[in-house]
Amino acid sequence: MPKIDRSSGLSWRKHTTKKELTIWLYWLIGLSIVTYAWNLISEKTIWFFVQDAGTQAIDIGSRMVPPKLSYMDKLWQPVWDTINIATIGTIIALIIAVPVAFAAAKNTTPHPLIRTIALFIIVSSRSVNSLIWALILVFICGPGIFAGTIAIGLRSIGFCAKLLYEAIEEIDHNQVEAIQATGASRAQQMLYGIVPQVLPTFAGVGVYRWDINIRESTILGLVGAGGIGLQLNGSINTLAWTQVSMILLVILGTVIISEWISAKVRHAII
């Protein structure tokens, strides 16, 4: 609250004394949390290694150049797999995310109980990192692309459904009301009143998530779920640094291209 202190002549302060004190208190709490966290982490750190990091970095860096270009022959297949994991995973996620989103949006949910279940599906899918999903799925259905694809799909359901249901809740209700007034059924109201309004969001979210998934699927190989991460892990473990730098370059290239495609497509939609 702005306050005008008339007793002491002309002075203006943004906050009252009480508010100022609360703000300082928040700062104090924040600062002590950070200090505590830092102490805890530094306790578990071997500082000798950290001091040595600079020389290590130079050492590894020098071993990484030049990238082993000939290794590319062995990378085409993993790159192709990585892209497929991301694409098919995204398609699976979108197919499942649509009904979940309609069940989770306040204005389209058939029942509050179903809404709670849908929201729970969204949260649990979002909270668990795709690498953890991959860990679980590799255990269940064996190593390979299949586990990776399903992992990406499961992780993306929550993300897509969340953005989609928020879009559904924010639609212009007048358009739906107009369709309702014609005597259309509930399903037709969704089809004519809601779907056209959220379709651009749906496409945008799909492409956006695909872009993220390309990035995420590059690491799934670390736990055996297919893609280029497997080669990365192997090369690091065998200290083949020129291969590592080649792989990093390939990942960089893939990510840049996918980001470019995603930006182009989203631009075309909107």
């Binding site: 949390i33 950070v34 505590y36 966290a37 830092w38 805890l40 982490i41 530094s42 578990k44 750190t45 071997i46 290694f49 950290v50 990091a53 290590q56 970095a57 590894i60 192709w80 797999d81 892209i83 497929n84 694409t87 098919i88 949260v123 649990s124 979002r126 909270s127 668990v128 990192n129 690498l131 953890i132 860990l135 679980i136 255990f139 269940i140 259905c141 064996g142 390979g144 692309i145 299949f146 694809t149 990035r215 995420e216 590059t218 690491i219 670390l222 736990v223 990365l232 690091i236 990093l248 990942i251 960089l252 990510v255 840049i256």
Partner: protein, 271 residues
């Protein structure tokens, strides 16, 4: 549309015009999409017998959730969770502190061309690689433990936060910025009065959102040795202790839900 008697007759059919108007482009998009999907599914070599074998395993895994085992390994799990939380907090704070100057430098309307390019390059580099890959290298350089995870997550935060900050500044209202500039304010005053109030609410919301992301990521950097609950989770899987794994997963979900609630609450407060 006139018939012989002179009355107007109207067509009885109507087709929705296609979304992509150009016929050949439309058909080639359909064709190549179909071709790609066929190839992608064709080369996805799935070992169905292995997948079928996995079903009982999936059942065992699901069984572990009823009930999850919070009791055994309680000490280890608690340590891991704590480490994850602190790691997430401190890497968010450090990442944001570093992001502010980088974000300011990467805004086209604030920074001179060469500073802009340098900062954009930093952002692009830290965005490209997933946190896990950053963590692998951090572990190589700094040794096992949460410090490596902290470094990896901080770098990841820069790529996220500085980019959004820069974009927000680029999209801000020029009028307000000009008005403050016209009063003869210094550069820092200008940032403080014209830019900060415009970008602050969104940035506070985003920092809680990033805290949420960092916590989720801190649960996996442990898999490559970067500290946090991920290592515990990985061990639980390796030892087939699914009830413990289930407990860890539920704890992660619970904390993420709390963070989401807090971020929603904070965003409502500041906007």
């Amino acid at each position: 549309m006139m018939d012989r008697s002179g009355a107007i007759t109207y067509p009885m059919t109507w087709k929705k015009p296609p979304y992509i108007k150009n016929g050949s482009i439309r058909r080639s998009i359909y064709f190549f999409s179909a071709l790609y999907l066929a190839a992608a599914f064709g080369t996805m070599d799935v070992n169905w017998t292995r997948v079928a074998e996995g079903l009982p395993r999936a059942e065992r895994f699901l069984d572990a959730f009823f009930p999850p085992n919070f009791a055994d390994n309680r000490g280890v799990v608690w340590d891991g969770i704590q480490e994850s939380i602190w790691m997430a907090i401190i890497s968010t704070v450090a990442g944001i502190l570093l992001s502010v100057p980088i974000g300011l430098g990467a805004a086209r309307n604030l920074a001179p061309k060469y500073i802009y390019l340098v900062n954009r390059a930093i952002i692009a580099l830290s965005r490209t690689f997933p946190e896990i890959i950053l963590a692998i290298f951090a572990v190589k350089l700094f040794g096992f433990g949460p410090f490596a995870g902290f470094i990896a997550l901080s770098i990841g935060t820069i790529g996220f936060y500085a980019k959004l900050l820069a974009e927000d500044i680029e999209n801000m209202s020029e009028d307000q910025a000009e008005a403050i500039k016209a009063t003869g304010a210094s550069w820092f005053q200008w940032i403080n009065y014209a830019i900060q109030p415009q970008v602050m609410p969104r940035m506070i919301g985003l920092s809680v959102y990033r805290l949420d992301i960092n916590f989720r990521e801190s649960a996996v950097v442990g898999i490559v040795g970067g500290g946090g609950i991920g290592a515990t989770l990985n061990t639980a899987f390796d030892r087939y202790e699914f009830d413990t794994a289930a407990a860890i997963l539920l704890i992660i979900i619970g904390i993420v839900m709390c963070l989401e609630y807090v971020s929603g609450f904070l965003r409502n407060r500041v906007q």
